[in-house]
Symmetry: D2
Subunit: 162 residues, 4 copies
């Protein structure tokens, strides 16, 4: 690939790690803070953030990544790219409803779950089906989820697993 894209080396994009952040559209202030911190750390490490593109944990994490200059991809349940939260750079509409949860897992190299309910549980399950490492921050305590205590530990565990 070539190197004359405006201001950045585009060929590097495919080499970048993609970290999926999963978690509920509704979350506590504490979870949103954690998600934001996770997003900042991911971007700070040069990884792309993948998420479901909507509100709550997804938006907090994308905002964090944006604040650190990272790239964010949002895989949306609806049929309009414009449904994405304002911190998503590349919105992908699927018109699949909750079935799109599998695509979030499929398009991530590793997953970090923050808080979350059954939507998040489905994404954890898909992560495990697809052989992806799943790190958990205050989320479902089930086999297949490696618990972390802090955003720093979560991102550290995620990136070290690759």
């Amino acid at each position: 690939m070539i190197n004359r894209k405006k201001g950045i080396i585009m060929s590097e994009w495919r080499k970048k790690i993609r970290v999926g952040i999963i978690g509920g559209a509704r979350a506590s202030g504490k979870s949103l803070e954690a998600a934001n911190r996770v997003g900042r750390l991911i971007a700070g490490k040069g990884a792309i953030l993948v998420c479901g593109g909507l509100g709550g944990v997804m938006e907090a994490a994308a905002r964090g990544a944006e604040e650190e200059g990272g790239l964010t991809v949002g895989i949306l349940p609806g049929n309009k790219p414009s449904d994405a939260n304002p911190h998503i750079d590349i919105p992908i509409a699927t018109c699949m409803g909750y079935s799109r949860n599998s695509l979030v897992a499929m398009n991530s190299d590793v997953l970090i779950a923050v808080d979350g309910e059954y939507g998040t549980l489905s994404e954890i399950a898909f992560g495990c089906i697809f052989g992806k490492k799943v790190i958990g921050l205050g989320t479902w305590d089930i086999p297949g989820v490696t618990p972390a205590q802090t955003p720093e530990e979560a991102v550290d565990l995620a990136l070290k697993s690759l």
Copy 2:
């Protein structure tokens, strides 16, 4: 609706309860026996059996339903209706891979999980997302799953919930 379909009153089909059986393609002999019994009981109650259409728990349950003269629907991950196990009457190919797990939940009025791994976990999660009751027989012990001890109890709990 009309009443002159060959030997059965077709208008009744839409009134029938649809019970989804979820569980792994690989399962222990004991789980397969339980699934078979669940399938028999569902058909015996006049309900339609919905499942993922492949082997293991899905096949054992469909065989049970068939043995009792019930109707079986298999919602398949691949693109060929002929992928379905031989006990599926109405195979539906989706070409969605594991994303089709949401369709199994979406097309069932209530779910019974037998054994199972992460695929089953994703179906349990979708069942909960869609507000369906999920009964468990030797499966994931998580909030949202109502445990049963026997196939009889599982089917009883499932049908009473509607």
Copy 3:
């Protein structure tokens, strides 16, 4: 498979031909009449009718099949089986919107297009992609569609192609 299902030989279901009827939700009275006649003929030949499950051509054809005692499968864009028109025996919700058009083609052995606009065109295209014969009645006049002049000819061409 076994032979003691109530009143019908269930094992026969998998041997039945599945004819997909595609066409618009909005259609002229003449097209609806043709669709109804096609549905009747398909059921009269013992084939299963597959369609998109909603109104217009889909409903007229399903009503025709029902009037002849046939079985009808409706593959729906929404997430509720109850969205199906009243003449659908086996509704399958997909929550895929128009992407479900590929599933109608995938689950039919042969397709008959009646009238229709761009939704129908996408189904014709999927039929051709999947190597299915597509018969047309007053629909898109493009390579890949074998035109018929009457419902009788359409069903005849469809069944003879298998």
Copy 4:
């Protein structure tokens, strides 16, 4: 949104036009040249190129966009982002097979069809369903496709339609 992403103003990404290039995986040398030129022109205008991520027209167009420093999104039929051709910056795996064709249309503001067979026809149909302008270069000559004679005219017509 914020303005301190490395070297580019990320907030601009959501404002960028997304042009979908559709066309066959197999295409003539002349069509590949046209696709390459279309890709170059799109990137030169600052638009994002969206395509199906595989070979033929998709690859030629993505290569063209890359040569001009543009960003390319590939929406793939399989379940592996790594299936994308080497000129795709943001691969999105869907595991939907040909059903993903609707997502290419859904995620484009306007479509340019180059050559192509039935897969392209399905994407043209989805474009029309979703109300997107479809420009054609040596592709299906049907209502809904605005023909262009050259890559320059195609890109010009596409961008002027927005």
